[in-house]
Symmetry: C2
Subunit: 429 residues, 2 copies
């Protein structure tokens, strides 16, 4: 059956063309935007066309932040000459004051340095780089991500007036990477932007070589009341125990500056394709197999929260909630988690079935951001683990486009997920 699943995934798959449609018709589909609503309608239609028994747009409210006019970060020399630094505002950043923000810069390499550095009235430049020694780039991303997530709030506590962060990538190029930052209540909200690694190196070198430098930031963002967005749901009703659910999903939203091919358009089309594959091989699941395309993973997680809330109210049991949010790269394995901490061991009995397909990893984990709330409610969760080395090269940037996705790798990810869904439907976890 796995061979049939892989055949259906690899021969005449619509996944790559679906991804092309998603990323070329609905790029920059931040949750709640018109582009996002267009993607909702498109995705629900694809699910209907493939023969779902039921589809739904599960409505919720999501944060409404707008980037506004193109931001600008410039290095300003005494005498007024200035040079552009390739930058992008962090998601959720407040705008700079009218006329912009110009201030001296102090370079730090960790949040801890805030306690000893003189940052009052200055722009703090967190220039920590992702550690290349980690084999798994996600670990380096999580470690260095603190400067983006927490840096602006932490710096504001010490009197800083603005923050710049080095983009979270291993590559040295001039493409800035956005991402969310989390402000704290009772702490001033200061504007924050990410510099490309090239711009970060340039600023660092200038700070070492020259005196009396300032940086001029202009961010034109705005915050508004929450606005609506929906999780897109499509399911194949189970023939024996339809009240029990096997979920497969990704997040439909992406950053406003990105086409969102790997993050997470690949996850969207792969999740849809799992249902198509099961139908193509003529398999009628015993339990309900449900595709959920979550809203607002990037800047709020409201879709995942809403889904888990509703599932909890209905006392809905998920045999497995499997998400894919690591890109459309070649499938290497799965992380699997449950409260008892033994789900990955139970899943490991499927290992021999997957090895001919190049899938070897069955490790403990927490699934991912979107299925996290379901794990907290006692369900077993999982996340596809794709080959990870290229992901952060394009993560949260304009470069996350379909040309970075390989059709076969995309198809193999869908196949691996369909295979796991099938096995859990047959044998449980």
């Amino acid at each position: 059956m796995l061979r049939k699943i892989y055949d259906a995934a690899l021969v005449d798959s619509p996944a790559y063309e679906n991804l092309r449609t998603l990323t070329t018709r609905f790029p920059g589909r931040l949750a709640g935007t018109p582009a996002y609503h267009g993607a909702e309608a498109w995705a629900e239609d694809v699910l209907k066309q493939l023969g779902c028994d039921r589809t739904e747009l599960q409505q919720t409210l999501v944060p409404h932040w707008e980037r506004g006019a193109t931001e600008s970060v410039r290095l300003v020399r005494p005498g007024g000459a200035s040079a552009a630094l390739s930058a992008v505002a962090l998601g959720g950043s407040v705008p700079t004051p009218a006329g912009g923000l110009t201030a001296p810069v102090v370079e730090l390499h960790s949040l801890e340095e805030l306690t000893t550095a003189d940052v009052k009235g200055k722009i703090v430049f967190f220039n920590g780089a992702m550690n290349p020694r980690y084999i798994t780039p996600g670990l380096a991303y999580g470690e260095s991500g603190r400067q983006r997530n927490q840096g602006p709030a932490a710096a504001a506590k010490h009197g800083a007036v603005g923050v710049l962060v080095r983009s979270l990538t291993h590559r040295l190029d001039d493409v800035p990477h956005t991402g969310a930052t989390t402000y704290l209540p009772d702490v001033p909200r200061i504007p924050a932007a990410a510099l490309s690694t090239v711009a970060a190196d340039a600023l660092s070198a200038a700070l070492k070589a020259e005196h009396s430098l300032q940086v001029a930031m202009q961010i034109h963002s705005s915050w508004h009341d929450d606005w609506p967005a929906a999780n897109v749901i499509g399911e194949l009703r189970g023939s024996e125990s339809p009240e029990k659910v096997i979920l497969v999903g990704g997040h439909l939203d992406c950053w406003d500056i990105a086409p969102g091919a790997h993050d997470d358009g690949a996850g969207v089309v792969q999740s849809i394709d799992v249902l198509r594959i099961l139908k193509a091989v003529g398999y009628t699941p015993k339990h309900t197999v449900r595709c959920v395309l979550f809203a607002n993973e990037e800047n709020g997680l409201r879709g995942a929260t809403k889904y888990a809330e509703v599932a909890g109210e209905k006392k809905e049991v998920h045999l497995l909630a499997l998400e894919t949010d690591g890109g459309g790269y070649a499938a290497r394995g799965f992380n699997i988690g449950n409260a008892a901490g033994d789900a990955h061991l139970k899943a490991a009995r499927f290992k021999p079935l997957f090895e001919p397909y190049g899938v070897f990893i069955f490790q403990a984990g927490r699934g991912g951001a979107d299925v996290g709330p379901l794990m907290a409610k006692g369900n077993t969760v999982a996340g596809l683990i794709p080959e990870a080395q290229r992901y952060f090269d394009i993560h949260h940037t304009r470069e996350d486009s379909i040309d970075k996705v390989n059709p076969r790798e995309l198809e193999l990810g869908a196949a691996a997920m369909a295979a796991l869904v099938y096995l859990v439907d047959q044998h449980g976890l």
Copy 2:
């Protein structure tokens, strides 16, 4: 020690910049060409600079074939209107007669169909596609590769006057893939070219829809007497048993139309980097660790043959001859072979050491084209197995450029090979 090896591979590695130099200064370095000789000198210098105890240019003679002026394949309609078909002559193809070759076309899907089709006086168009059902693209490549390797000779036996083959790739695009063809003695040599998959589909559609179509081929290639090329060798002399060798290598040549980044520039720079890594971690090998950059893998294998010949004359024992010729993608494992057929089982005891680094596969194999002659002489051989899905997208084309290579994946391949070399040096196989 593996951690130290990986650190040395991942922090401040020169591998990617070496690859940039190799592919931008010496693209199209078919064995024997001036570009190839430039690459020889550059590579030997890099090996000297990293501190090899001995370097050598091991001379041999290689076939001398020249592509000549840009080839042309055109679809010709009754009345004379014609349309270009994106094409590239196969490596070693004879030229078309003066004025070109224009003839009717018959489309086949396998060599076997030659026995029943009417091909006399015609151009045979082998339009077999790589089978997407194979998980490992190399298997599909080997299967469909017969039409390129053997098609022209087989078609000539049946009276065909020329051959077109569909490019060996899963992608649908307009980039033609070259590669060697093998003519037979006592059989006429007919001109042969590969069409891009887009051109192949277009020709196939035209043949179904229209009548009296012909194809006009112009190939301006020429054959000459063999000319010299060298294997580039650099070694770290073993401290205890220097007469025993652990070889690590790739092939220095690449097709004339290609920059040769993945095939096999990656293998070249990774093999050099293995020696650099061992020195960087302060490891003095017990046995001689020798980097061999083979000449002429693409169209003759004369370098590999010469190396094995010399090694045989010297009665040189290779504890392991490890090559990398699958691209600079993320390392998944190794194929390992010996006469007894148990080498991969012996190597599998190293598996637990590699798993934290994402390397899982230890399977039986024959190493690769360049170390094959050494296996025939009783040595243990191995080949790095990188993630394979993207390789044939750019294989043997102008698109095999450095932008297709990810620095971390390249570095991880070098690390994996350095780790295996270290373990075999310490523990044998």
